[in-house]
Structure formats: structure tokens, C-alpha cells
Point group: C2
Chain length 216, copies 2
Amino acid sequence: MAAAAFFKQGKKIVAIGRNYAEHIKELKNTTPKEPFFFLKPTTSYVASGGKVEIPRGIIAHHEVELGLVIGKNGRDISQADAHSHIAGYALAVDMTARNLQDQVKKKGLPWSAAKGFDTFTPIGSFIPLSSTPNAQNLNLTLKINGEIKQDGNTDQMIFPIPRLIEHISSIMTLEEGDLILTGTPSGVGPVTPGDKVSCTLSDPDTGSIISTLDFE
Amino acid sequence: MAAAAFFKQGKKIVAIGRNYAEHIKELKNTTPKEPFFFLKPTTSYVASGGKVEIPRGIIAHHEVELGLVIGKNGRDISQADAHSHIAGYALAVDMTARNLQDQVKKKGLPWSAAKGFDTFTPIGSFIPLSSTPNAQNLNLTLKINGEIKQDGNTDQMIFPIPRLIEHISSIMTLEEGDLILTGTPSGVGPVTPGDKVSCTLSDPDTGSIISTLDFE
Ligand SMILES: [Mg+2]
Ligand SMILES: [Mg+2]
Ligand SMILES: [Mg+2]
């Protein structure tokens, strides 16, 4: 497969939790000693320009995140080798049924339903490596109806990209077309039907926009 | 894709928790009011005759389960339509890192790592519909080194097969090649390196064996 077809052909989405200190504070969570992750189904993808369906009774929060598109299969990938497994990037939103997630967290139950509804992973187009000089220094923003809600930089990650790939691949093989979501900066909050959500990924040094992602 | 290729081409494994009363008792869990599930990556499959790798420090429990192989895409599938989405069955074991799962349950964290290690879903071959007169009345057994550990019948499920498909597909689209694990009867326990594990799926009325699954 071409890595750019990850959206159609990839098999899994591995999403990192609690990777930005300010986001951990805003949800009153504890800081993890090592990365942790959950799985989202690829049936949750919706392309930029699409619509997120919020089921009745669900409070759906936006979490804008940098996605890593895996280009080469690997298990027990070292931090030194990690970048050779990345084919490119994608701007993504990890939509989360926050009220459902709060319930299952209290009961010690899986997060899969709270994170896995159809259309709960809005995704921008494939970003080739050549478009991103340094993935660990990119601005991520999310606006709702023109108002800025999230504005972070990937240099604020607690566990940097190579550490995430090392950790996940110590448990499960990463395959071509898999997507890793690297966690969200602070500012998460609800999206309500009719809201227009727009996200950007940009280079803080030049100000140039690398990717955009829009949905309703 | 041919449904029989689910093992190579399928995208997701949706696994139901706590669907047999005696198993809920043995783990001192509470009985759910509706089905719940978690996701396992397809990288966790290992074919019959293979080897389960148990990472150092992990207590790995066997859970023998009936797998449903999805043959037709669907969302919001009604109980009446559920059987038309099943292409066939597979005998499976949902290996679980029980000590890790106990930890994350206490902390309200995802189950994905505890369930998702490579080789943590031993899987038998595809069983066509014609081999199973009634999927809701099949014997499931698991032996370790010849000693019987699990011996249940799918008629003991709290939520029957159509209810499981209705519930999962109310949250996420089921796709051709997806596998649903329907929960395990009581008798779960540790597998240790060197153990020979053998499972059978059989028809209780005739005693005939429909499928076997063996691993070390
Ligand atoms: Mg989970
Ligand atoms: Mg997230
Ligand atoms: Mg199970």
C-alpha cells in the first residue's frame, strides 16, 4: 500500500493518552510514568470537510493531535530506529465521548466505546516527511466557530515521538498504514451539533501552514 | 475479500467482556446491564499450532471464546438482521495479561495493552455456517497439558449473539473480516511457558467436534 492510503487501508489507530502536562491538569488526571495508549477503530475516520455524528446523550470533546503514519512494519523498535518507521504525518482530532469515558474510568472498564464511535477521528490528508522539518516542533490549533480553543506545540509532549513508537512496538507490531495519535494539548471541550471546527498544523519558525482539517 | 481470509485481511477484533455469569463470579466482577467491549489489534492473531509469547513479568490468562466472523458491512444492525452479517465462526482464545489488567482497572486506564500483545489471540480456522447448526448451543472446552480447565456452552451467554451485534454496531460500523469475540465461560487461569493448550468447539447434541485450536 502507499502510506498516503492509510485512511482507507490502515488497520489500526493507536492513541496515546495524557502526553501534555497542561491537558493532564485540566482533566485532573495524574501524570503517567510511562506512555499508555488505547485503540480506535479505523471505522472512526472521517475526512476533512465531513461531519462528526454526536449520538444522543453524548458530550463529545475535541482533542487536536499530531498523527504519525507508519510506513514500515516493526516490533520492538528502538528510539534510534523510530523515525525510519514513519512515512509521514496527519492532522487529526481524537473525538471523545467525555461523559461516557468518565463513567467507564470510574468502573475500570475499557475506553473503546467512548473513543470509537463512527466519525470520532476526523483526519486531514497525508503529510509527506518533506513538509515537516521537525515534527517535534509544530503548532497545533483548533478553533470552534472562529474562536481559538486549543493552541499547543508538539515540543510540549511529555514522551517524545521516538519514545511513543518504542513503547507501543514493545507490545504490538506496528504495520504499514497504522496511525499513532500522539496526545492532545490543553483546551479540550465540547463540540455541539452545528459547530464549525477548524484545525491547523503549522511551522512555528516560519508561520507557514502545513495542514488544515475542518469538520462540523 | 473472502470471509475465510479474516485472519489476514480483517481490520478489527471486538471482544465482549463478562458475558458468562460463572466467569463474572470467579473474577468477582459485577454483571453488566448492557454488553461492553474492548478492541484487540489484528496483530495479536496467531494461528493454531503456533506459540503464545508471554512477556516477562506478565501473568497471561486463557479465555476460550466463540468468534463471529463478519461477512457484510453494517451499522445499527437490528437483532433480526444480525445473523445475515455473520459469514462464519472461529474458535479463539482471548489471552489476557491479568496482572496488568488488574492494575489498569484500578487506575481507570484502557485495557488495550493488557489485551493487545502480539500472539494474544490464538485463532482456529474459519468455520462455515454449514458446520454449525446452532451457534447459541455449542460446547467450548480448553485443556492445559490434557487437564480440562474451561468447559462451557454458548447457551450460557448473558447477552446472546444478535444482541452483541446490535450493541457493537450501534457504536461502530462492522466490516467484512472483523471478528467478534463473544466472552468466555468460567475456568480462566494462567498459561505458563511450555504448557500445551488445546481447545475444542463441539456440538453437544451429536458430540461431533466442529473445530480445534492448539498452541503452546
Ligand atoms: Mg480499551
Ligand atoms: Mg486523545
Ligand atoms: Mg475475553
